[in-house]
């Protein structure tokens, strides 16, 4: 599974990345967390407000810091679909 945190590097984006990494650390499994600050990639994902969280190519939230529970649920659901490797 691949999780991307999109944001040019403001405080909110850093906070989101930190939360995602904390949740991932409790999950185990093969999850890659990546911070994306390239505007072209944000444009390609259709993200207009940051921070945004993208899991396996699906935009999960934009323009706000998600809670740990939300992140955890997203990861579980994405895993259940069997679409990840």
């Amino acid at each position: 599974m691949e999780i991307k945190v999109l944001g040019p590097g403001c405080a909110q984006c850093a906070q989101t990345e930190k939360l995602v990494k904390e949740v991932v650390a409790t999950k185990g499994g093969n999850i890659v967390v990546q911070k994306v600050s390239d505007f072209k990639e944000m444009m390609a994902a259709g993200v207009m407000s940051t921070p945004a969280v993208v899991i396996d190519g699906v935009v999960k939230c934009t323009g706000r810091i998600p809670s740990k529970e939300e992140i955890s649920t997203w990861i579980e659901n994405a895993g259940n679909e069997g679409g990840s490797d």
């Binding site: 403001c10 909110q12 072209k40 259709g46 207009m48 934009t62 649920t73």
Partner: protein
């Protein structure tokens, strides 16, 4: 695709919601009472601190400056916390993606107004301005409408309105908002007339050619609406992050304001930089544009400049140009705009704020007295 999730799965504590809500309202009520007590006691407390506890001579410049500083800082910070929280709570569901979808396909004239209007009411972290710009542009929203949005966005927001209202009164607030809106609307119009689109960085133009309008980004919270707990979380994060960002601006702004308040003689500005000195307006805009400030820091300075007799037009021109553009912002926008476009943008700001300054220097005395 995401699987539809049941609400209880989404919020593990959902069955506790009524209890949580009850506790939440109890805490909110007591905090609100405390807030009100603090707010109504700022004046006597700062007076007592400065002149009784610290023993400054009544009427001394330093004492007056210090009192003003304490009073203004506390008042502004208290107002900010309340407002950011309350407004974030309400507008958790207002998204720039929705604004984009709404703006796409609007007629130009109406589009500029709506662009400026949404610029005023939509909050966004300034580091989002580039993704937002790209999102608008690739959705085929005319460049001018996007520019209207970008010009108005830093100038007007709810924080600005409340600070202006409480420090400078309703008349000035209305004038400020109208001027900010008009600067945005006119800016959009001018940019489209000049066809500035061709001066975007090439990669955007390429993306516009191949990419049709983008799909609406799906936020997994959308389907369920927001619970009180989620609203609180959003509002709390919003308050914390905005507050962390602006508190030093308030202190710097009020600090400069307090220094002006205590040390610059009454009417010094009126005598030296009055409305008669026509060149003072374009000069102050020229100084204001590279300065980096946000609206929270500039309003306390405006208050002091005005009370020391700087003409209203010059004050507006200087402060708005300091908020609307800055060197760091120009550097950031460089990634999507070529030099030509940036020069046009800054040239426009210089002209429009100079005109605003001259206009209000001549009519200001009739409006505010």
């Amino acid at each position: 695709m995401t699987m539809p999730t049941t609400p209880s799965k989404l919020h593990p504590n959902a069955h506790n919601a009524p209890l949580w809500n009850l506790g939440y309202f109890a805490v909110v009520t007591s905090l609100a009472t405390f807030w009100w007590l603090a707010y109504t006691h700022i004046m006597p407390v700062s007076h007592w601190l400065v002149f009784t506890l610290w023993g400054f001579a009544p009427g001394s410049h330093l004492g007056l400056s210090l009192e003003f500083f304490l009073y203004d800082t506390a008042k502004i910070l208290l107002l900010l916390v309340l407002l950011i929280y309350a407004l974030a709570w309400i507008r958790v569901s207002l998204k720039v993606e929705l604004v984009r979808d709404f703006l796409a396909g609007k007629r130009r004239g109406l589009g500029y107004f709506l662009g400026a209007f949404f610029g005023a009411i939509t909050p966004f972290c300034s580091c989002s301005s580039i993704p937002l710009f790209l999102g608008f542009t690739t959705a085929r929203i005319p460049m001018g409408i996007t520019m209207s949005f970008l010009i108005t966005s830093p100038l007007i927001n709810e924080i600005a309105v409340v600070l202006l209202w409480s420090l400078l009164g309703w008349k000035f607030t209305i004038i400020y908002v109208l001027v900010g809106m008009l600067a945005g609307i006119l800016g959009g119009f001018v940019m489209d007339e000049l066809k500035v689109q061709r001066w975007l960085q090439p990669f955007i133009l390429e993306a516009m050619e191949k990419e049709p309008t983008q799909q609406y980004v799906h936020d997994s919270q959308k389907k369920h609406g927001f619970t009180i707990q989620q609203r609180h979380t959003f509002a709390y994060n919003e308050t914390a992050s905005i507050f962390q960002r602006v508190w030093k601006w308030v202190i710097i702004g009020v600090g400069i304001g307090a220094a002006l308040h205590g040390f610059v003689p009454e009417n010094w500005f009126a005598q030296n930089l009055g409305a008669g000195e026509w060149w003072s307006v374009p000069a102050s805009v020229l100084i204001g544009i590279p300065l980096y400030s946000n609206v929270t820091g500039i309003i306390p300075i405006m208050e002091s400049l005005l009370t020391k007799g700087l003409p209203m037009g010059t004050t507006l021109a200087f402060c708005m140009s300091a908020v609307a553009a800055s060197i760091p912002e120009v550097m950031m926008l460089r990634q999507i705009m070529t030099i030509k476009l940036q020069a046009t943008f800054i040239g426009y700001l210089w002209i429009i704020f100079t005109l605003v300054g001259w206009l209000f220097n001549s009519v200001g005395p009739h409006i505010l007295s």
